[in-house]
């Protein structure tokens, strides 16, 4: 993480999100929030607590349970002078917004020959492990990453969350911002002063020599956990967090793999046809001759997320599983 010579506090991921929204709403009166139970309830995860008290119900706006409706309304509002931050409670519900996002928001700038723009943010969640079963546990960010015209952000620390969200709100294009539900209570250092993080710049979360883990969102913690375990047996792992799946900082990823000559890519989306496939292809295309062996990937198992705890636990990558894979790749098993 970049270091700052300024006042830095330890705050939670949820607080970082809330601060980013509050600061942007103070800075720009066009920024408003639309979503289910965002006002007095502050969302079921309480991420937005306190915002309605400061900004009122005219800017922190409770909607009916109409994801397609208020997302599409957000698109139209963004085209005409508002900067909406649309809140989709669970990432699983983005399915309901697909036409609005894929056929409308993503295409309008291009189809209009650059005449209209859609400066809108969609905030939503990803991640399993809350025993919430198949319709409340998915990580579907690959879908939006697949569509030209959308940008997709996956913060993994409070610092990144705040800087990237502020950037997203100031951005001129539709940006989808995925937050890991399990991370809301995680604390990390966040400077008190205004800062943004540009979209498309990866961050090396841990430097290492022997193997590269390219990990997104929730998987960054898994990668760091595995790196700790590997350090104990003398293997040095580098953890690269792309922070945005689109735009993608190819160079940082490729350089890391060229240095270490081994790579595992991790992402909590379904492994098949997902983010891990794209990242593995990038490495194969651009660092093939520097690799000691095939790129490996770890993602969610190709099954609907089960409810039962022992089954759910089997579907997602863990530090231990990654540790074992990396050890084997480094010829130490």
């Amino acid at each position: 993480m970049s270091t700052h010579e300024v006042v830095t506090r330890e705050i939670t991921f949820a607080e970082a999100i809330r601060e980013a929204l509050a600061e942007e709403m103070r800075r720009d009166s066009r920024v408003c929030i639309l979503g289910e139970d965002v006002a007095e309830a502050g969302t079921p995860f309480k991420v937005l607590s306190g915002l309605v008290e400061e900004f009122g119900t005219g800017r922190v706006i409770d909607t009916p349970i109409s994801e397609a409706g208020f997302t599409g309304l957000g698109v139209g509002a963004a085209m005409t002078g508002i900067r909406p931050v649309v809140d989709i409670m669970f990432g699983d519900f983005i399915t309901l917004t697909m036409d609005q996002m894929v056929n409308q928001a993503a295409k309008i700038h291009y189809m209009s020959g650059g005449r209209w723009k859609v400066p809108m943010v969609m905030r939503t969640t990803l991640g399993a492990a809350r025993r919430s079963a198949a319709q409340h546990s998915q990580s579907l960010h690959a879908w939006f990453s697949h569509v030209p015209g959308l940008k997709v952000v996956l913060p993994s620390t409070p610092y990144d969350a705040k800087g990237l969200l502020k950037e997203a709100i100031r951005h001129e294009n539709p940006v989808v911002f995925f937050e890991d539900k399990m991370m809301y209570k995680m604390k990390g250092p966040v400077p008190a002063e205004d800062y943004t993080i540009p979209l498309g710049v990866a961050d090396v979360k841990r430097a290492g020599e022997d193997i590269t883990f390219v990990a997104t969102s929730s998987m960054v913690q898994v990668a760091l956990g595995a790196a700790d375990l590997l350090a104990e047996i003398g293997i040095s792992a580098e953890v690269v967090d792309p922070r945005t799946t689109w735009p993608l900082d190819e160079q940082t990823i490729v350089e890391s793999v060229k240095k270490t000559s081994r790579a595992v890519v991790l992402d909590e989306g379904y492994e098949r046809y997902g983010v891990t496939a794209e990242l593995a292809a990038l490495i194969a295309e651009r660092a093939f001759y520097d690799l000691d062996g095939p790129v490996r990937r770890m993602g969610a198992m190709h099954v609907p997320i089960p409810f039962s705890p022992p089954l759910e636990d089997a579907t997602i990558p863990t530090p231990q599983k990654l540790f074992e894979l990396a050890r084997e790749m480094c010829g130490r098993s």
């Binding site: 289910e36 079963a133 409810f307 039962s308």
Partner: protein, 332 residues
């Protein structure tokens, strides 16, 4: 609002049996949910628990008007619907605890109970997600000519979803045997209905020419009578209908929703619990009409309690599924 007809003096033996059975069913749901609350609070139940307490008369009144082979679809607040349609508490609890003996082998959990043997197409965790499914079931009933009816339970919050209107239009166009049962418990998660719905609820169904009525959802006989009439209509090929049941959830949106005063007052909750508890309303009526005495009702409660206790015991002792289960059932 439709009221219950006053044919009590001429009540047949079958009527009395039905009324007693409805009391037993409501008691079963109430006691089931109280144990869910307790299991959840003691951290024995993973995930989320949305309790149906306070709304029992809706599920029971509607499901008692259905046959076993008729269909239902349910919601995230679905335990009551599943039980009322005939699910057994032991396999329900097992599912809620993620055990292999559960209705869905532990893969679905609280929000996804499904049981083909009782016509339960499944509880659904997507608000309005089951409205198309129920309409589709009604489509096959008509297509296959098997005379089955589908009852589609959803909260008033689902009326925010556009797909509900698409389905009602289709059902009315094609005269499908489906009853849309709207449980208006006044709140979505943490927001009052007045902030989420414009206009009149029944007018939505009426706009496509659908038969629509409102009933007191705390009065199980009123719900049953209205539902029975609409089911009969549907079975006779007269098409879909919409039944709005006015009701109230006594607990929070889910078990963890404890401090609720920012969206509804304690006073309001107390009033509903005191004056409009569907079990108390029905019990008082049964006793007043001399269809049952207090001892008989207590006996029912004791029997149900024992059954529920056994079911919980079964679920707690049941094993988790084997890990090999994890990638089974993805495809048929």
């Amino acid at each position: 609002m439709s009221t219950v007809s006053s044919r009590t003096e001429t009540a047949s033996h079958a009527d009395v049996e039905l009324w007693i059975r409805m009391y037993r069913q409501m008691t079963a749901i109430r006691l089931f949910e109280e144990r869910v609350n307790e299991l959840y609070t003691r951290a024995l139940m993973p995930g989320l628990a949305h309790l149906y307490i306070g709304e029992e008369a809706v599920a029971v009144g509607v499901c008692e008007a259905l046959r076993r082979e008729d269909y239902i679809t349910s919601t995230h607040r679905g335990h009551g619907h599943c039980l009322a349609k005939g699910a057994s508490p032991d396999r329900m609890f097992a599912e809620l605890l993620g055990k292999a003996a559960g209705y869905c082998k532990g893969k679905g959990g609280s929000m996804h109970i499904a049981d083909p043997s009782t016509g339960n197409l499944g509880a659904n965790a997507i608000v309005a997600g089951s409205v198309p499914i129920a309409t589709g079931a009604a489509f096959s009933s008509k297509y296959l000519g098997n005379g089955r009816v589908a009852a589609c339970f959803f909260g008033e919050g689902a009326l925010g979803q556009g797909v509900v209107y698409e389905e009602m239009n289709l059902a009315q166009l094609w005269k499908l045997p489906v009853i849309y049962v709207c449980e208006n418990n006044l709140y979505t998660e943490y927001t009052h209905v007045s902030e989420t719905l414009a206009g009149d609820i029944l007018a939505r169904a009426k706009s496509v020419g659908m038969a629509a009525e409102t009933v007191d959802g705390q009065n199980v006989r009123a719900v049953h009578e209205a539902a029975a009439k609409l089911v009969e209509r549907a079975r006779a090929g007269e098409g879909p209908s919409f039944l709005c049941c006015n009701t109230y959830r006594f607990h929070g949106h889910h078990v963890g929703d404890i401090n609720r005063e920012y969206y509804r007052s304690k006073r309001e909750e107390q009033d509903w619990k005191k004056e409009r508890d569907p079990l108390a309303v029905h019990a008082a009526w049964l006793v007043a009409q001399k269809h049952a005495d207090a001892a008989q009702l207590e006996q029912i409660e004791a029997e149900v309690k024992a059954e529920i206790a056994k079911a919980v015991e079964f679920a707690i002792n049941a094993p988790y599924p084997n890990q090999e289960e994890v990638d089974r059932d993805v495809y048929a």
